[in-house]
C-alpha cells in the first residue's frame, strides 16, 4: 500500500513540476475552463499588488478571493508553486484516511447486519470484500492526483485546489467524529465559497447517526445536538468573518466576494450554466432568475437529506457534485473533487446503467471545449451558441452521472433488504424501475 502510494506521489509531483516549468503553464492558466474570475491566480497577484500598495484589494473589480486567502498568499507568494503542489496532497491523504475510516465503519455495519440475519442470504455478493476495500484509498488518490482536471487546475495555480483541500479536511474531520473541528472547517469552507453551506445537513446527520441520536423533532437530545453543532458552525463563521474585518479594516469583501458569487456580474464563459443564460436575458428578469438559479443549488439538500438520512457519507458526495454542477463559477477543479469519490462507490458498479455513455460524453466534451473555444474566439467562425451547446452537454453528462450513482445506491440498498433476485408475485423475474 505504501509503496504504490509513494510511487503515485512521485509521478504526480513530476507531472506537475514538468508542467509548471513548461510553456504550457501560461496557456493553461488562461483557459476559461480551468480558472474562473473567483480563483484565477492572475487576479490573486493583482490583489496582492494592491494590498502591498496599501490599497484595499477589493477596490478594483478584479479580485474576488476572501481576505484570509490573500493574507495566506501575502506570506507565501514566493512559494506559491509549492503551495499549489502540496494542496492536492492534502485532499489526497485525507481521502485515503476517509476511505479507510469509511471502510471500518461499513465492515462493522455489515458484520452486525449479517449476524442479525437482517440481509437475505443471496446478498452476500453485494457486500464488499476486505480485499476490494483495501485498494480504495489508493484508487481515490489516483483518481484525484492523476485526474487531468486536477492537474490542469493545479498547474493554472487556481485557488480552487485550496478550497478542495478545505472541503476534504472537513470531510475527514467529520468522519473522524470531531464535531468541533468539523464545524470550524465547514465554516471555513462556507467562508471561502458559500455553497458548502449545504454540507451542514449531511454532517449533522452523520454525527447524529454516530451518536445514536434518532432524527426526531420531538426529542430533546436531537435538538440539543443540532443546536450545539449549529453553534460551533455559526460561531466560527462569525469569528472568521470578524477576523477578516480586522485584517482588512473594512467590510469591502462582503459585496466583492459573496455579492459577486450570488449576483453573477461576470459573464465570462465557463463550464457552468449561468453565463450564457444571463448574457442573453433581459435585464428586468435578471433578479428573478438569479434567485431561481441560486435556490436551485441549495434546494436539493432537502429532498436528498430526507431520502438519504441513513447514508450521510453518500449524501456528502451528492451535495458536492450538485454544488460543482450548479454553482455560479464552476471550474474543472470542482469537477475533479467529486470525481475523486467515485472509486469509493465502486461496489455500486454493477447497478450503474449509463456509465459508459457518460464517460464518452465527458471525454468528448473535454476535447471539444478547446476546439469550439478556438473556433469562436480565434477563428471567429463559430459563436457562443456552439460553446454553450458543449457546456450543456457536459453538464448533462455530469447530471446523468450523479443521478446514475444515486439510483445505483438506492437500488443496492433495496436489494440488500429484499434479496438480489427479485420475483414478481407470479414467480417471474421482476425488474426495478425508477419512476
Amino acid at each position: 500500500m505504501a509503496a504504490p502510494l509513494t510511487l503515485l506521489l512521485i509521478v504526480a509531483v513530476t507531472i506537475r513540476a514538468v508542467l509548471f516549468r513548461s510553456s504550457l503553464a501560461e496557456l493553461i492558466s488562461e483557459r476559461v475552463e480551468v480558472v474562473s474570475p473567483l480563483n484565477a491566480w492572475k487576479r490573486v497577484v493583482e490583489g496582492l499588488a494592491l494590498l502591498d500598495l496599501g490599497v484595499s484589494p477589493y477596490s478594483g473589480d478584479v479580485f474576488h478571493e476572501t481576505p484570509l486567502m490573500i493574507y495566506l498568499f501575502h506570506f507565501t507568494v514566493d512559494y506559491a508553486e509549492i503551495v499549489f503542489m502540496v494542496s492536492p496532497y492534502f485532499v489526497d491523504c485525507l481521502s485515503c484516511l476517509l476511505a479507510s475510516l469509511d471502510r471500518a465503519k461499513i465492515f462493522r455495519k455489515q458484520k452486525y447486519a449479517l449476524e442479525s440475519d437482517r440481509y437475505p442470504a443471496d446478498c452476500l455478493e453485494l457486500l464488499r470484500s476486505p480485499k476490494e476495500m483495501f485498494y480504495i484509498p489508493l484508487k481515490v488518490a489516483m483518481f484525484y492526483l492523476l485526474n487531468p482536471f486536477t492537474i490542469l487546475s493545479c498547474v493554472a495555480k487556481s485557488t480552487c485546489g485550496l478550497n478542495n483541500a478545505i472541503i476534504a479536511l472537513f470531510i475527514f474531520c467529520t468522519l473522524k467524529g470531531s464535531a468541533l473541528l468539523s464545524g470550524i472547517l465547514l465554516a471555513l469552507a462556507t467562508y471561502q465559497s458559500i455553497y458548502p453551506l449545504t454540507l451542514f445537513a449531511p454532517a449533522l446527520l452523520f454525527f447524529l447517526q454516530r451518536l445514536y441520536i434518532p432524527v426526531n423533532l420531538r426529542r430533546s437530545s436531537f435538538w440539543c445536538f443540532t443546536l450545539q453543532y449549529a453553534f460551533i458552525y455559526v460561531g466560527s463563521l462569525v469569528v472568521i468573518t470578524g477576523l477578516s474585518f480586522f485584517l482588512l479594516g473594512s467590510w469591502d469583501f462582503i459585496p466583492s466576494v459573496y455579492g459577486f458569487i450570488f449576483s453573477v456580474p461576470d459573464l465570462t464563459p465557463n463550464i457552468g450554466l449561468f453565463w450564457y443564460f444571463f448574457a442573453e436575458m433581459f435585464e428586468h428578469f435578471r433578479l428573478f432568475f438569479i434567485c431561481v438559479f441560486q435556490i436551485n443549488v441549495f434546494f436539493y439538500t432537502i429532498p436528498l437529506s430526507i431520502k438519504l438520512k441513513e447514508h450521510p457519507v453518500f449524501l456528502i458526495f451528492m451535495q458536492i457534485a450538485i454544488i460543482s454542477i450548479f454553482k455560479s463559477y464552476p471550474t474543472v477543479g470542482d469537477v475533479a473533487l467529486y470525481m475523486a469519490f467515485l472509486p469509493a462507490w465502486s461496489h455500486l458498479y454493477r447497478f450503474l446503467r449509463n456509465i459508459f455513455l457518460v464517460s464518452c460524453v465527458l471525454l468528448a466534451c473535454s476535447a471539444l471545449f478547446p476546439v469550439l473555444w478556438h473556433l469562436w474566439i480565434y477563428a471567429g467562425s463559430a459563436n457562443s451558441n456552439f460553446y454553450y451547446a458543449i457546456t450543456l452537454l457536459f453538464n448533462f453528462g455530469q447530471i446523468l452521472l450523479v443521478s446514475d450513482y444515486f439510483y445505483a445506491y438506492l437500488r443496492r440498498e433495496h436489494h440488500l433488504t429484499h434479496g438480489l433476485y427479485l420475483k414478481k408475485k407470479d414467480g417471474t423475474e421482476a425488474t426495478l424501475v425508477l419512476k
Binding site: Y135, Y349, R353, N354, I355, F356, C360, L363, A364, A367, L368, V371, L372, H374, L375, Y378, A379, G380, S381, A382, L400, Y407, T431, L432, V433, L434, K435
Partner: protein
Amino acid sequence: MGLLSDPNRRKALTNLLTRLNAPICMVCYLAAIVWFMGLAFEPFTLRTYMSENAMGSTMVEERFSSGERALSLAKEFDAHKRKAGGMPVEWLVKAMQARGLEVFTQSFSRKLPFPDENKERYMVRGTNVYGILRAPRAPRTEALVITAPCSPGNSDNQAVGLLLALAQYFRNQIFWAKDIIFLVNEHDLIGMQAWLEGYHHTNITGMEYSPLQGRAGSIQAALSLELSSDVITSLDLILEGLNGQLPNLDLANLFYAFCQKLGVLCTIQGKLQRNDWDTAEGYTHAAQTMMLMVLKQACGRSWGDHGLFLRYHIEAASIRGINGFRHYKMDVATIGRLLEGMVRKLNNLLERLHQSYFFYLLPSLSRFVSIGYYMPAFGLLAVILLLRVSFPGLDHFTFFNPSGPGVLTVLTPVVISHLTGVALYLLPVHLQEMAVEHFPVSETEAVVLTAVAIYTAGLALPHNTQRLLSGEGTEQGWKVLKLTALLYLAVLLGCTALINFSLGFVLAVTLVPITASMTPHMPKALSALAMVLLSPAFTILYCVFIYQELIEAPVSVGEGWMLFLSVISQGILDHALYGSLVYPLLALFIYPCWLMFWNILFWS
C-alpha cells in the same frame, strides 16, 4: 429519460443495436456517401444571398477608367523589377508617394527548415512595400487591405500596375471611411506572414522582420489580386485559407454580385457555372467543383495570399485573372471597376462581416451548402464508430473492471504508437543533415524520404509490443484496445471535422470502414493489405490523383508519386512556415490512432 431509466426499453434497444449492428453500419456508411454526393445536386442546395445590410442595399457607381495607366505602370514596374532583380523598393516607394500615400517598407528574412524545391528558395530575404491612404471622412480606426504580390519572372506585373492605378484613383475620392492599405508583398506567403505578424505585433513562426513604421486601424477585410496578362477572359475566386478556414460567405457573394453587374465571367475552382443542373453533365460539373473545394480545404494550406489574413479574424479572398481561349476578353479597367465597387461596399461596413455563413461548401458561385446540410454526412460516419463501440461480444464493463485486462496491455500499444507518431513529427526535419551525409539525396528528398521511412517502419514496430510486457495478448485485451481506439478516433475526427470539415470527412471516409471492422481473427494478409491501402498516407496519394483528375491534368503513376512526395514536403514546410496544422495532426494523432488498429490486427 424514459429510454435511459426504463430497463425493458433499454434492453430492447440494445438488442436491436447488437443484432443489426453490421447492417446498420453499412447503411450508415452508404448513406453518408450518398448524402455527401447529393450535396452538389442543385435542388438540395441554397441560393446565395447577401446577408449584410450595409452591403446589400446601398448603390455604388463605378467610375474607374484608367486601365491604360495601369498597364503602363505595370510595364514600368516590370522593367524596374528586372533591373533590381527582385522587389524594386525605391521605385515603388516613389510611385506610391507620388500618388499621395503614406509609404513604409518592411524587410524580413527567413531561413526555411529545408530547401523548398517547388519555389527554389532556402534563405529568403525580402522587402514589403505598403502605402496607406488615410480616410478623409472618419476617425482612422478601421482599414481595408488590397495586396498584389511581387513575383519572380513575368507574372503579376499587371496586378501591381492596377494596384497603383487604383491608389491614384481612390486618392481623389472623398468617401472613404476606412483607411486603405495598398500592399506589395515579396516572396508571396512568407512576405505576407511577415507583414501580418508585424502589423499585429505577434511572432508565432520565428520569422525575422523589422517592425512596421506605419499602421492603420484594425483591418476589416482584405483582397488579394493576381493578374498576369493585359486582358482576361474570366476571374477566379479563391477562398480556401490556412487550415481550411474560409472567409465569410458575404465576401464571395459580393464578388459574385459585382461580376454579374459588370458582366464579367467568374469562376470558382477554375470552373464556370452551368445552368443545366438537371442533366448528368450539369450534376457532374457541380460535384467536381465541390470535390475540388473539399480537397483544397482538406489539405489545409493557403491557396492564395489571402489565406493568412483569416487567422487574424480578417475576411479575405484572392481574385485571380485568367486569360483563356475565349473570344470575349475584358480589359484591366473592368477589373479595376470591379475592385472599386467591392472596396466601396466594404467601406460601407459598420461592423465586421459576420451575418453570413463561415462554414460552407460551394458547388458553384451562386449555390452553397451550409454546415447544417453537410454535417449529417460526417455525423453518419461518426455514428458507425460509436455503434461499433457497442459491437457484440464486447462487454463495456471490462473497460472499467479492475479484474479485466490490466491497464498495461492497453497502455503499451497506445504509448508506442504515439512515440512513433512523435518520431514521425520530429525526426524528418532534425535528421536531414545526417541523411544528406550518408545518402546521395538532396535535403528536401532527405526530409520526405525519412518521413516515408519512419511511416513504413511504424508498421513493423508494434507487432511485438504487447508481448514485451504482458506476455500473450488476451481476447479481452484487444477488445479493450479496440474500444479505446474507436473512441479516440471518433473524438479525433469529430474535432477535426469541426475545424476543417473537409479534412475530417476525407479521413473518416477512408479510416472508418477498416477500423470499424478490424479484429485479429480476420485473414491476416488480406486485411493487412486493406489496412495499408486505407492508411492516411495512401489517402494523401489518392487525393493527389483525384485532384489532378479534377483539374483535368491527369498524371501517370510516376508523376503522381513525385507529386505525392512534394505534397508531403509542402505540408511540412507549411507547418514550419505558417503554422498549418495538418502535418502535426496526421503525424501526432491520426497515424498513431491508425497504428493502434494495425496493432489489433496483429494481436496474438
